[in-house]
């Protein structure tokens, strides 16, 4: 496997969706290619960091206001039936 092919399959490799023969070729390439290893490691790190950074929540005050509006709509609809 060459670098270009490895990069093409990188996401499938990360998600463990390559069939075993391709995965083995990818592992062989990674074992001998520092550049592709760096791309793999840094991509995985980026995913992990995004997971952590992405966990934002609706701030409490806005969340309470949203819920009171949505709950009112729910109750109103229930009362109408």
């Amino acid at each position: 496997m060459d670098c270009k092919t490895l990069i093409t399959y990188l996401s499938d490799y990360i998600d463990r969706e390559l069939d075993e023969s391709l995965a083995a070729e990818a592992r062989d390439h990674l074992a001998t290619c520092p550049n592709c290893s760096i791309v793999l490691d840094s991509t995985q790190k980026m995913i992990l960091m995004s997971k952590l950074t992405g966990q934002v929540a609706i701030p409490k005050a806005r969340r309470e206001r949203l819920w009171s509006e949505i709950e009112a709509a729910f109750n109103e609809r229930n009362a109408a039936d």
Partner: protein, 195 residues
Amino acid sequence: MEQELIAALRQRDPAAFADVFATYSDKIYRLAVSLLHDEQAADGVVQDTFLALIEHIHTFEERASLATWLYRVAYNHAQTRLRHQRPQVDLDEWADDNIALPEKMIDWSTLPELLLTGEEAKAQIMTAISTLSPSLRAVFILRDVEELSTEATAEALGIQPGAVKVRLHRARLALRETLAGYFEEIRGEEWTAKH
């Protein structure tokens, strides 16, 4: 578990409805705010989505996935608002299927944890995600932040699983490249690609 929840929702059980809000409001908000970059508009998407749930509860099939349904409604509402915000943006522009090969080969994954998880790094990630096109961003958020499967993401966004995979791959490589540029500056040294 989900079937019981849906059954309770169909009975218009207030506790079940409150449960759904507690479980999904932040998830819906994250997708919406990442697409719209506007907290107020993202709150609006959360509201639109739950109002739609109130309207459609009785048509809900017990076999359906509540999460996928909610994401799909939220995505559609976010798209509508996005078109309104920026009418010239085509959400589905992604005809270019040439994937740019990585250029920046600095090994920043071994930087000290503090540099990688600090406020500055977080801000860099948020900025990098915001530079993706909306269609790549939606896929990246659902797959890599919310950890939905390829199939669930495809269903939520109304696209084919193959398109989810292509977009996720492009999003990851683009984000990796953007962050590599940032960490390269931090480390102040360069690795040269030899291929």
